[in-house]
């Protein structure tokens, strides 16, 4: 195996495009090294992106927060402005693994690992986050919900690498929240998860919303009917009931020892309602 640690995105793209054999990008390594050790993958080349400056910084711009692909989740939690603007996204990212894992794991890696249970992904989808993808044909912007294709499979093309994740600027009177269900309080993977991001207009009426669910289908998904159910309401009981029904309708989970189809579908409704209530409060609604 060859280990490469390019200093620039251009060099990373060139290495990715021109290297022979199986090439893997190393961000935090908390998934990649486990897969290497388990013998699931045998890379010929590993490209460590942590020495690329643009991939290792959090930048606040007029377009929002540009979070480099190699920025660890621990560093996100230490970024006060980011925590204030996107508490739901930061909470979701902070739920991945232990403090040891937090020191390494990244949101971009969480997204590219393409697990349906990835904690940060539903929160990013609800936030309408974009991935900045760099490749041999230049850059392109991809909505986070379009990155995963199936469990473990992404829509990234050969030679492409995610350089950063863009979270939009914090809108006035908006709030986001992420909740997951796990049998244990720490060190566990979501059995079901839900993220809600909403904006309020006059008199606490929701003018805009995005709802995402995780671990109830082959990939984390945006649930438009669930958002529609609460837009134009003050999140009253009727709206919450409609939200729950829409969330349930979107569920297509697997049945396994961690949760039955029935259980996951039920919990998705509960989490969607609770996350919506937290997001509503964070947006300043009563």
């Amino acid at each position: 195996m060859l280990y490469e640690s390019p200093q620039t995105t251009e060099d990373a793209v060139e290495l990715l495009s021109k290297s022979k054999g199986k090439v893997h990008v190393l961000a935090g390594g908390s998934d990649l090294l486990v897969r290497m050790k388990g013998g699931y993958i045998e890379p010929d080349v590993v490209i460590d992106i942590k020495r690329i400056k643009s991939m290792n910084t959090i930048k606040k711009t007029a377009d929002g927060f540009l979070i480099g692909a190699a920025v660890s989740c621990a560093r996100m939690a230490d970024h006060q402005a980011l925590c204030k603007a996107w508490p739901g996204v930061v909470e979701a990212a902070s739920l991945i693994g232990s403090d040891q894992i937090q020191g390494r794991c990244t949101m971009a890696g969480n997204m590219c690992n393409a697990s349906p249970a990835a904690d940060s992904v539903p929160a990013m989808i609800a936030a309408e986050a974009w991935a900045l993808v760099q490749g041999p044909r230049g850059e392109r912007w991809v909505l986070v919900e379009k990155i995963a294709k199936a469990p473990g499979v992404t829509t990234l093309r050969k030679g492409e690498v995610v350089e950063a994740i863009l979270l939009p600027p914090k809108y006035k009177k908006s709030g986001d929240a992420y909740l997951r269900f796990t049998p244990r309080t720490e060190m566990d993977i979501a059995v079901v998860s839900a993220a809600v991001n909403l904006t309020l207009g006059a008199k606490g009426v929701i003018t805009d919303a995005r709802v995402a669910l995780g671990a109830v289908g082959p990939k984390a998904m945006l649930v438009k009917p669930a958002a529609k159910a609460i837009v134009g309401t003050t999140l009253d009981d009727a709206a919450l009931a409609k939200l729950a029904a829409a969330a349930a309708a979107a569920c297509d989970p697997i049945d396994d020892k961690r949760g039955t189809i029935q259980f996951r579908t039920k919990v998705a409704q509960v989490l969607a309602k609770r996350a919506a209530k937290i997001a509503y409060q964070r947006a300043g609604g009563k």
Binding site: M1, G28, G29, V46, R104, E186
Partner: protein
Amino acid sequence: MSVLVNSTINGDNVSFSCDADETLMDALRNRVGLKGVKEGCGTGDCGACSIRLDGALVCSCLVLGAEAEGRTVETVEGMSNGAELHVLQTKFLEHAALQCGICTPGFLIAAQTLLEKNPSPTETEIRYALAGNLCRCTGYDKIVRAVQDAAVVMKKGRKK
């Protein structure tokens, strides 16, 4: 492919060569001789291999040795001041916060990181901060007590 790595390990400039796909845990143990870095699960669940890399608490089993180039590594071997144990080490002994000892270096490094960030953690905060370290002997209670006691002593030391 073999890689030559230059790092600062426990304050010393150290050069070692390792295979490109070799973990930092294996390199520290087998190339540098720091056997305080333990392998439990090898998949980032148990925390026995915990070290600090450029100040960040990490599982060294999930880091490649090659990644340590130019970086600072801290292991349990660097915790004591010569023969004088770190307060945490003393408190672990006083509270009998270990039996077999495999998990202890990882717990010490994680607890040290916690107390530097948060000098007066609550019991809940300690338990969350140490959730990435597994111990199959003690039932955790003695470890938590040792960390609480060490926090008190370390705070007093700072005030002097």
